[in-house]
């Protein structure tokens, strides 16, 4: 199971990921942080093997990422991966859009009016 996943993910992801993971290089990225006073600053952070997810580790967290169930540090680490790895970013973006699209379309189904009226009447009579 793991092996096929490795192959698949390795295929189109940037070489630099392997280099970072192997500790041969580091990459600087910028991110925006909001201060307690509400000001937005741009800070530079260095991505190194120390806290960098491989594609596989990032993808393992896809569902929790989509559902906002990641711990803040984990989420940061996923975001770091996505900053470096354009193919994963594109896939993650697709998954997020897919989820929101499904949710939005399915929410067009609503309860029949007569059901709502019936329930409302039942409640008014105190059950």
């Amino acid at each position: 199971m793991a092996s096929s996943k490795d192959n698949k993910m390795g295929a189109d992801c940037p070489k630099v990921i392997g280099e970072i993971l192997a500790g041969r290089t580091t990459v600087e990225v910028t991110k925006e942080v909001t201060s307690p006073e509400g000001e937005v600053h741009t800070v530079t952070e260095t991505i190194s093997a120390f806290d960098f997810y491989s594609c596989e580790e990032a993808i393992k967290r896809l569902n929790a990422y989509l559902d906002s169930e990641l711990a803040p540090e984990e989420r940061d680490d996923v975001m770091k991966h996505l900053k470096i790895c354009a193919p994963c970013l594109e896939r993650f973006h697709f998954e997020k859009t897919l989820l929101l699209t499904m949710r939005e379309r399915i929410h067009r189904t609503i309860a029949p009016l007569k059901l709502k009226e019936r329930l409302s009447a039942l409640m008014k009579n105190g059950e």
Partner: protein, 214 residues
């Protein structure tokens, strides 16, 4: 957990519920309840009955609802219990597929494939958008319906209703780790079903190594 929630307790002392408070807390979730009932029962008659039973029980036990907690999750939990006890037909166990072999990003990968297979088409729309565009409510609903029962509710509650894992765990009375593993497999399977419903093709065999982009 069952003790905290005496579903069948007709003899439980009845604490009067204020209909106005009840309605203002609960009625915003009626549409969600109805959708969930449709998914569970598969038809609108049973769905309406299930919503009504859920609503009446919620009304009766409203004193147990903690104001400020998620009313939707509370209602879903009541609904799920009533469904299991009173509505559920004997479950047909799906054939055991090896879900672990399901590919990640199935739909995304197929959308990329479809570009490759139509080289003449110089579309302005990107292939992912084209897939999402085709995703209508019927395709989504029938794909959810086709999911094996063990995955269906977990996938729907997280994906369509946006409930937290802990809430789903409480509603379905399963450990949170089970929520995670069902989602992981169920969503991958859902993407295959979506693709099947969109493209009108049958599922390729599970073992076929697809989308191993070089």
């Amino acid at each position: 957990m069952a003790d905290a929630f005496p579903i069948s307790g007709a003899e439980t002392p009845h604490i009067p519920t204020d209909p106005v408070v009840f309605e203002s807390e609960m009625s915003p979730h009626l549409d969600s309840l109805y959708r969930n009932a449709m998914r569970l029962t598969g038809n609108s008659n049973d769905a309406e009955d299930l919503v009504q039973d859920t609503y009446l029980r919620a009304f009766r036990f409203f004193h147990q609802y903690e104001v400020g907690t998620n009313a939707k999750a509370w209602l879903f939990r009541i609904m799920n219990t009533i469904f299991l006890n009173d509505y559920r037909k004997k479950s047909r166990q799906g054939d055991s597929l090896s879900y672990d072999e399901l590919e990640d990003f199935y739909l995304y990968n197929r959308s990329q494939d479809s570009v490759l297979s139509a080289p003449g088409a110089t579309t302005q729309v990107n292939p992912e958008d084209a897939v999402l565009e085709k995703l209508d409510i019927e395709a989504i609903e029938s794909s959810i319906k086709q999911l094996p029962e063990e995955f269906r509710e977990t996938v729907a509650l997280a994906t369509l209703e946006g409930l937290a894992y802990q809430e789903i765990s409480d509603i379905l009375n399963i450990p949170i780790g089970t929520v995670r593993s069902r989602l992981s497999r169920g969503r991958r399977l859902l993407q295959r079903l979506l693709w099947q419903n969109l493209s009108g093709t049958d599922l390729p065999p599970m073992s076929e190594p697809i989308g191993q982009g070089k």
